[in-house]
Amino acid sequence: MSHSLDAYLILSALLFGVGTFGFLARRNAIAMLMSIELMLNGVNLAAVAFGAFTPELQAHAALIALIVMAVAAAEATVGLAIVIAIYRNRRTPLVDEYSSMRE
């Protein structure tokens, strides 16, 4: 295990960056949800890393990580449900075909 915080933070930033890119670039709604999971995990990793290197923050970091995981689970559930509902309606998982909210 490396003993540098920077390594964790860089990995976390990479995860977040990959997630952001995936969310903006992928047209498939399921892939976009997965990208969101990546972003959340990136953030989570940063939080736990801060906790591991700063003893006063340890408990808080663990709590935040747990809450983020719970929220991520809930978000994934609701997100998937919505995507399936839209898919049934529009017969496509591609988000650039969803433009009924246009001006």
Binding site: Y98, S99, R102, E103
Partner: protein, 658 residues
């Protein structure tokens, strides 16, 4: 409620219900449309006479008069406007004029309006007018008086425009209404000023609280209001009186008001409504007495109107217009009387003038009827043998208004002039005497042109001329009686006659405030001289009139009149064109005022509306532009969020955290 209070209420309720009933079912009564209105008015007259008898002869209500509140109209905390009425000597005296002439005019109208299909409307309006006028004289607070003031204005409007399909009548009605609004504007401001100053609108002090007529002089005395404010209040209130009583420069509506049926001219525009201004100033004497400046202005406006109108009356050709200008002139006398502090004399003239001018107007109606709706005096002449009753009664009216003793007009007019002289208004007196000469002249010009000399009547109409029906001649005769006797009965001896005894309590304080402690009238010295000059002026005017325009055997001196006209051509033209006041008003208000209004309209449309519309258009186009970023693609929005996040992060790292 006591019996008297019920009677006062009935006095108002009867004509009002007469109006309502005639308006509802009058049309079905056809030629009998008068059958509700006229009996109602006779009953009203009887009740009024009872109240007059109680007030003036039995002195049943004391000096203060009868005061009572019918119900609270606008209760608002400490402030309240009520239907409260007063019957004191002043009210009673005006009641005599209003109800007597009102009743006679109603009877007269039965005959006069017999052939008019709109007669039910006519009688309904007449009853509405009587209700309004009675409310006006009975009201005991400013607000109620103002309401009545507007109601008489409304009835006047409706009756001037009675023949509304005639354009001139419709225009005259509008003119009367609009000119009156100018005066009422000042009146309303005056009432507002009174209210802000003393916090009440009740005239007199009753158990409900102190009244304006007590509080305002007190406020002036204690220094709560400055003398100029008192003068301002008085002048604002006087503005209303000027409008209603057609004083210069608001006199222009009254001559045009003659477009209405003749009974209306007699009742509203000669004998009653136009006296409302005089009545009001007399009623508000405790206010006016406090400000000598306002009093002087009242006198000046009055006497100026008197000579202005008399000069116009000399050359008019329409018989009713001569009488209308004569009314203006006599109203001017009344205001001159009020202005010099001779309140009782002014009310005396109001009374006598009401009777003889009512008589003259009804007489002129009878003449117009006889010659088949012809009003131009140049197309009359020699009528005295054909319509004798009309002629004799009108002759009495003319002598009375000219001021020949011992007829009514002499006493009242002379009293105003004598008071003007003795109270130090010599200019008013001088002009007044000149006007007295002119009065005699224009009245006998009217008589000469109408009744004497050779006939200029259309030969087709000539054989059909006949005396009017009895319902028209009887009121003439009944009005001729007070025109002869009223002055002797209530006005002799001058300044201490019956009328003065009645009115003394009402004007007591004003006379004291003005310090008019004149010596009592004696038939010698200054009093006799003034009396003699007054009579001589009237006699001179009448003699001129007879000399120029004939009387029975005397022939008209057409040549002399024409030569005089030629000599004074500019004056004649000015008088004939009524000193161009209508043209002046047209220039100032219609043309120049219209120009200003159009300029403002342009400003409103282009600048004000333009600004507002511009802002709206700008907002709309901006919105249309910004709307384009709503693509509906979720990833575009996400890109926006990411970009925003990036901006925040970069700002944090390179700006804040540094």
């Amino acid at each position: 409620m006591t019996t008297d209070q019920i009677f006062v209420t009935l006095l108002l309720a009867l004509p009002l219900s007469g109006f309502a009933l005639t308006a509802l079912v009058g049309r079905r009564l056809h030629t009998r449309a008068w059958m509700i209105a006229v009996p109602v008015l006779i009953a009203t007259w009887a009740i009024a006479m009872y109240l007059v008898y109680q007030t003036l002869f039995l002195h049943a209500f004391g000096d203060e008069g009868l005061h009572f509140t019918l119900y609270k109209w606008v209760p608002a905390g400490n402030f309240s406007i009520d239907f409260n009425f007063a019957v004191d000597a002043l009210t009673a005296v005006v009641l005599i004029v209003v109800t007597s002439i009102g009743m006679l005019v109603h009877v007269y109208s039965i005959g006069y309006m017999a052939h008019d299909p709109g007669r039910w409307r006519f009688f309904a309006y007449l009853n509405l007018f009587m209700f309004s006028m009675l409310l006006l004289v009975l009201a005991d607070n400013f607000m109620l008086l103002f309401a009545a003031w507007e109601l008489v204005g409304l009835s006047s409007y409706l009756l001037i425009g009675f023949w509304y399909n005639r354009k001139s009548a419709a225009l005259a009605a509008k003119k009367a209404f609009i000119v009156n609004r100018v005066g009422d504007f000042g009146f309303a401001l005056g009432i507002a000023a009174v209210w802000t100053t003393v916090g009440t609108l009740n005239f007199t002090t009753t158990e409900a609280g102190p009244g304006v007529f007590q509080l305002l002089p007190q406020a002036l005395e204690s220094g709560a209001i400055a003398p100029w404010m008192m003068t301002g209040i008085a002048l604002l209130l006087f503005m209303g009186a000027m409008g209603k009583s057609a004083q210069f420069p608001l006199h222009v509506w009254l001559p045009d008001a003659m477009e209405g049926p003749t009974p209306v001219s007699a009742l509203i525009h000669a004998a009653t409504m136009v006296n409302a201004g005089v009545y009001f100033v007399a009623r508000a004497n405790p206010i006016f007495a406090q400000t000598p400046d306002a009093m002087s202005l009242v006198a000046a406006v009055g006497i100026f109107t008197a000579i202005l109108a008399a000069s116009i009356a000399l050359t008019q050709r329409d018989i009713k217009r001569v009488l209308a200008y004569s009314t203006l002139s006599q109203l001017g006398y009344m205001f001159a009387g009020l202005g010099v502090g001779a309140f009782a004399a002014a009310i005396f003239h109001l009374m006598t003038h009401g009777f003889f001018k009512g008589l003259l107007f009804l007489g002129s109606g009878s003449v117009i009827h006889a010659v088949h709706e012809e009003q131009d005096m140049n197309k009359m002449g020699g009528l005295w043998r054909k319509i004798p009753i009309t002629h004799w009664t009108m002759l009495i009216g003319s002598i009375a208004i000219a001021g020949i003793p011992p007829l009514a007009g002499f006493f009242s007019k002379d009293e105003i002039l004598a008071s003007a002289y003795k109270n130090g208004f010599q200019t008013v007196w001088t002009i007044g005497v000149i006007v007295a000469v002119m009065t005699g002249l224009y009245m006998f010009r009217l008589m000469g042109k109408t009744f004497y000399g050779e006939s200029h009547v259309d030969p087709h109409i000539e054989p059909k001329i006949h005396e009017s029906p009895r319902s028209m001649t009887v009121p003439l005769i009944l009005l001729a009686i007070p025109s002869v006797l009223l002055g002797l009965v209530i006005g002799w001896p001058p300044e201490s006659g019956l009328l003065h005894q009645w009115l003394a309590p009402v004007f007591e304080h004003a006379t004291e405030t003005l310090e008019l402690h004149e010596a009592p009238f004696v038939f010698a010295g200054i009093d006799a001289t003034l009396l003699f000059i007054g009579a001589a002026a009237a006699a001179l005017g009448v003699s001129f009139g007879i000399w120029f325009f004939g009387l029975f055997g005397f022939t008209q001196r057409q040549v002399t009149v024409e030569r005089l006209t030629d000599t004074f051509r500019p004056l004649y033209t000015a008088s004939f064109h009524k000193w161009w006041f209508d043209e002046l008003n047209d220039l100032i208000f219609v043309r120049f005022g219209g120009f200003v209004a159009r300029a403002l309209w342009w400003f409103d449309v282009r600048v004000v509306d333009g600004t507002v519309n511009g802002i709206a258009a700008l907002t709309q186009s901006t919105g249309r532009g910004i709307r384009q970023i709503q693509t509906g693609h979720v990833q575009n929005y996400a890109l926006g969020i990411a970009a925003g996040l990036l901006v925040i992060a970069i700002t944090y790292i390179f700006v804040v955290a540094r």
